[in-house]
């Protein structure tokens, strides 16, 4: 064991030296020069006032008289360009025409309507600026609003766990006086309303008048961050700043995986990695050693960022599985890619997919517990100073960590001479990587002990079980993408998509086994491996029923995806057993069907896979309409 560690460390040291040579001093100097030029230009631009990230600058043209009181409002809005009214013709040179009394003349094109809406906002902002300059503050801002968040004591008990703690912590940071108020009412004592209004006194209002201008404000109010001020100062609860900071953790990953991918692919060009392969080092040692420096860099950068943005140990621990998954996916990509070009696209694909997967759920932090599927949500919690339970931490990080390990396992399967240095298409390498993990079934037929056969089928079942995290991720992505659609459309599409994902997961390695000659192409073998795969999937799926405890089934769409178990209370035992075993029967039948197809050829496999998907979807539809 110690020996092995020493071997891994030796490879790691070698990789560090080599990588240090790759990005040499000149490159670093060039990068620094580029960045400093950019900094100087941006700084100068900011000082000169020509720089701003208004992507909508000057997109609408407004015909307004220079004498008009509205000219200032238009002038101050970056997205609006004033055009002198006497040269303006609606639809030709201007999108809207503003008369002196503020009446807007617009045509009925979408652009004209958008311009009118933009103009209205410009006038509102202009008025706010005017009022801020007023001396008589009570006349300018007659309303003083204190906004508090209270959880309803009746019903919605499930929301309490997340929302309740958010209320306490967020509120404490904002204003002590109203926070007390919120807590009292949260416990259901509604008899002290009379003193509520005395809380927000005059000086509070004066303080917040300055910030009252930011109308679509982006300040980072979390849920429960009670606010006091003019109505314009109300910010909808959305952890914008924390989210933005969480995103900062993801940015360096993109550069890291570029270097890592290059390093792995470098081994494969011109058979450079061959000397390493013939040493007594196991492929796993080599890969571990090559990866270690990059993990170390990821930890280092993450820690630096955490210190810079005020995150704690939790942030670093939560980002670690994300970094591991980035590296693992890039490793697989670099093992499969045939050229640098292909690697670039694989790297970009990995970046986009993983960034989306990590970032999008985090947007719904505080809204729904589903957000916890992304470890980045933990970072947002951490930055908001909220406590995270061990269960939540494990739920959030374990799937990604396991996924990363499985991906490394997949890539390791082709870390061998005949795959590394050949130009096979990605799909064929993928099948290779899967087939490596399978043991022969029904090949020779002579002298095969039942124990051996059982072990071979066990490896089939295990491989199927290993696909569960990826099935999970794919299904979640599907749920996320279809969430916005109306429920009448999203549910059927979702059911078919999920059935397809699961059927592929259960049968693609069987196809690989038949194609690579690991399995004999007979119907008996096909039925055997199909059933084995179904059992593996069934067991793994039941094992992950833990997710239900975290409240994923709260969502209707979530129930369609994961919930064949919910709502079975009050049924007789035989029915319960039948219900429990029904999925097994379904998996067994559908997978055997696909396996028989896979044992023939690709066309048969595609056809049987489609058929299995339809059967599976029909079954799911039945379950949903029973429980719905």
């Amino acid at each position: 064991m110690i020996d092995r560690l020493r071997r891994v460390l030796r490879v790691a040291r070698w990789e560090t030296v080599r990588a240090g040579g790759g990005v040499d001093r000149r490159t670093l100097l060039a990068v620094l020069a580029l960045l400093s030029v950019a900094g100087v230009v941006l700084g100068g631009g900011l000082a000169a006032g020509v720089v701003g990230i208004d992507v909508d600058r000057d997109v609408y043209r407004v015909g307004v008289d220079t004498e008009s009181p509205y000219a200032d409002a238009v002038e101050a809005r970056p997205s609006l360009t004033p055009v002198s009214a006497d040269r303006a013709s609606l639809g030709e040179t201007v999108d809207i025409l503003v008369l002196d009394d503020g009446v807007v003349v617009a045509s009925d094109t979408p652009k004209s309507e958008a311009a009118a809406a933009e103009f209205r906002e410009a006038v509102e902002a202009h008025n706010e600026r005017l009022m801020a300059a007023e001396e008589n503050a009570t006349a300018a801002f007659p309303l003083t609003v204190s906004l508090q968040y209270v959880s309803r004591t009746s019903g919605l008990g499930v929301e309490e766990t997340l929302g309740g703690s958010a209320d306490d912590d967020g509120g404490a940071g904002e204003s002590g006086a109203t926070d007390d108020e919120g807590d009292d009412t949260a416990t259901g004592e509604a008899d002290e309303d009379s003193d509520v209004s005395t809380d927000s006194d005059g000086d509070d209002a004066e303080d917040s008048d300055d910030s009252g201008l930011a109308v679509p404000s982006v300040s980072g109010g979390a849920f429960g961050a009670d606010t006091v001020g003019a109505p314009g100062a109300i910010t909808p609860p959305f952890p914008f700043v924390s989210l933005l900071l969480a995103f900062v953790f993801l940015v360096p990953m993109n550069f890291l995986i570029q270097a890592y991918g290059s390093s792995v692919l470098d081994e494969r060009t011109n058979r450079r990695g061959e000397p390493l392969l013939v040493t007594p080092l196991a492929p796993a040692d080599i890969v571990a050693g090559k990866t270690l420096p990059y993990v170390a860099v990821a930890v280092l950068i993450t820690t630096l960022i955490a210190v810079a943005v005020g995150g704690g140990v939790l942030s670093v621990l939560a980002v670690l599985p994300i970094a591991a998954t980035f590296l693992a996916a890039t490793f697989v990509g670099a093992m499969f890619a045939r050229s640098f070009k292909e690697l670039t696209f694989v790297t970009v694909g990995v970046s986009v997919l993983l960034t989306t997967y990590a970032f999008v759920p985090a947007i719904f932090t505080n809204v729904t517990p589903v957000a916890l599927v992304s470890p980045l949500t933990l970072v947002v919690y951490d930055l908001q100073g909220e406590a995270v339970s061990t269960g939540e931490f494990l739920f959030s990080t374990t799937p990604m960590a396991v996924g990363a390990l499985l991906l490394f396992g997949l890539g390791l399967g082709v870390y061998r001479e005949e795959d590394m240095f050949t130009q096979k298409p990605v799909s064929r390498k993928f099948l290779d990587a899967l087939a490596v993990r399978l043991a022969e079934v029904g090949a020779a037929g002579i002298g095969v002990s039942p124990r051996h056969r059982l072990r071979a089928l066990g490896s089939v079942a295990f491989l199927t079980a290993c696909t569960i995290p990826f099935v999970f991720v794919a299904e979640l992505l599907a749920v996320a993408l279809l969430f916005a659609l109306p429920i009448t459309v999203s549910i059927p599409v979702l059911l078919v998509t999920i059935a397809f994902i699961e059927e592929v997961a259960k049968s693609v390695h069987l196809y690989a086994g038949f194609e690579r000659g690991v399995f004999a192409r007979t119907d008996r073998v096909a039925v055997a491996v199909g059933l084995a795969s179904a059992v593996g999937f069934f067991l793994a799926e039941k094992a992950t029923a833990v997710v239900q405890a975290v409240g994923l089934t709260e969502l209707y769409v979530g129930r369609a995806a994961f919930g064949s178990v919910a709502g079975v209370a009050g049924l007789s035992p035989p029915v319960l057993v039948a219900l429990f075993l029904a999925p097994l029967a379904l998996h067994g039948f559908a997978t055997t069907l696909a396996a028989v197809g896979a044992s023939r050829n690709r066309t048969y496999y595609a056809l049987t896979l489609a058929l299995a998907t339809l059967i599976h979807a029909a079954y799911n539809f039945g379950v949903v309409s029973l429980h719905g």
């Binding site: 997109v59 807007v104 609003v145 959880s151 997340l162 959305f238």
Partner: protein
């Protein structure tokens, strides 16, 4: 010219064989789909008025509640029900009969104190708070109007609300520029990979034995990379049009993006010529493109803004001049890089 086209053809054949271009288009599709999904989600959270049927029920109480009711007449997304006391209003809130509670009282200094209560941590909270803000802002405007005598300068009257789609501005100022510029970055990256790979595998040496000069090789690779960019952009623009988003000035947009592709390809060639290996080259290229585009976007007349104005048809004399200017800059940059390669050759090869 023939040798250049041969090399360009070889590059394209390589792309086709690896199906890389399909992957590239897939990635772009994913980015477009997801950014749209995000915006639809976020807009519906922030601007529920943009969605029909989002209406909240406010339980009002306090001695100034009549003004609040008056304000709610002007806000389509909120209706106010008056309750006798704050306690009764709170009770309605607890029983889910109201989405929010607003208790409003006149203060001694002449202002109005408002205590608003929104439900905590549910999906609807954001929608409710946004509508509450809308209601209270209208209330504020009404109050301000009645106190106009005490103001040194009275606010300008607001124009009427128009039924505009919240996605309109986003589509033209973010989605279209992103879709138009993604192929630009992809082309540059392809050139970096293509050149560094030839150097790395030693095939560039073989090419140089053939009767072609180094600038011709570079030309061939650049032609291939630049040629595939406008097609992808055009595909997105046609798709958008089929989706009901008309895009104006398509030829100008394509000319602008081709010029930018040339510029980025020139940058890519220069970096691959100077950097020692692929890792350094890709690293420099990503940083360079980030700096170039980040900087250019922040400047007035940046390419993203120029594309947005062309697409939405808000052009003036400067936009036309910008397109020409970018084309000239790109041509000069490419000629310069070509010369650099001709004189210095490639570092690694």
């Amino acid at each position: 010219m023939g040798s250049r086209l041969t090399i360009a053809g070889r590059e394209l054949a390589g792309l086709r064989a690896e199906k890389t271009i399909l992957l590239a288009i897939g990635i772009q599709l994913f980015i477009a789909a997801f950014s749209s999904f995000l915006v639809v989600g976020l807009v519906s959270m922030y601007d529920p008025g943009g969605l029909s049927g989002a209406e909240i029920e406010v339980a009002g109480a306090g001695d100034a509640v009549a003004d609040l009711e008056r304000a709610s007449d002007d806000v389509p997304g909120a209706s106010v029900t008056r309750y006798e006391s704050a306690g009764a209003a709170r009770l309605a809130f607890e029983r889910n009969a109201a989405d929010a509670v607003v208790v409003t009282n006149r203060a001694e200094d002449g202002g109005i104190d408002v205590v608003a209560t929104a439900p905590d941590a549910t999906v609807e909270t954001t929608v409710i708070v946004v509508q509450l803000r809308e209601l209270l802002r209208t209330h504020e405007l009404n109050e301000r109007e009645s106190r106009a005598a005490f103001l040194a300068e009275s606010p300008l009257p607001l124009p009427d609300q128009s039924g505009s789609s919240p996605y309109f501005t986003f589509t033209y100022t973010v989605l279209i520029p992103v879709l138009v510029f993604l192929p630009v970055f992809i082309s540059g990256s392809l050139v970096v990979d293509s050149i560094t790979e030839e150097i790395d595998r030693g095939t560039l040496e073989l090419l140089r034995v053939a009767p072609v000069t180094l600038p011709e090789i570079v030309d061939g690779k650049a032609i291939a990379a630049i040629a595939i960019a406008p097609g992808q952009a055009l595909l997105w623009l046609v798709l958008l049009r089929a989706n009901g988003t008309p895009v104006a000035n398509v030829p100008s947009i394509l000319a602008l993006m081709t010029a930018l592709t040339t510029l980025v390809v020139a940058l890519a060639v220069a970096i691959s010529a100077l950097a020692p290996d692929r890792r350094a080259a890709q690293f420099l290229y990503s940083i360079g493109v980030l700096v170039l585009f980040g900087g250019a976007t922040a400047m007035a007349g940046g390419p993203a803004n120029a594309v947005a104005r062309l697409a939405i048809d808000s052009t003036d004399a400067t936009t036309g001049a910008l397109v020409v200017a970018y084309a000239v800059i790109a041509a000069v940059a490419y000629a310069g890089v070509r010369r650099l390669v001709a004189v210095n050759g490639f570092e690694g090869g």
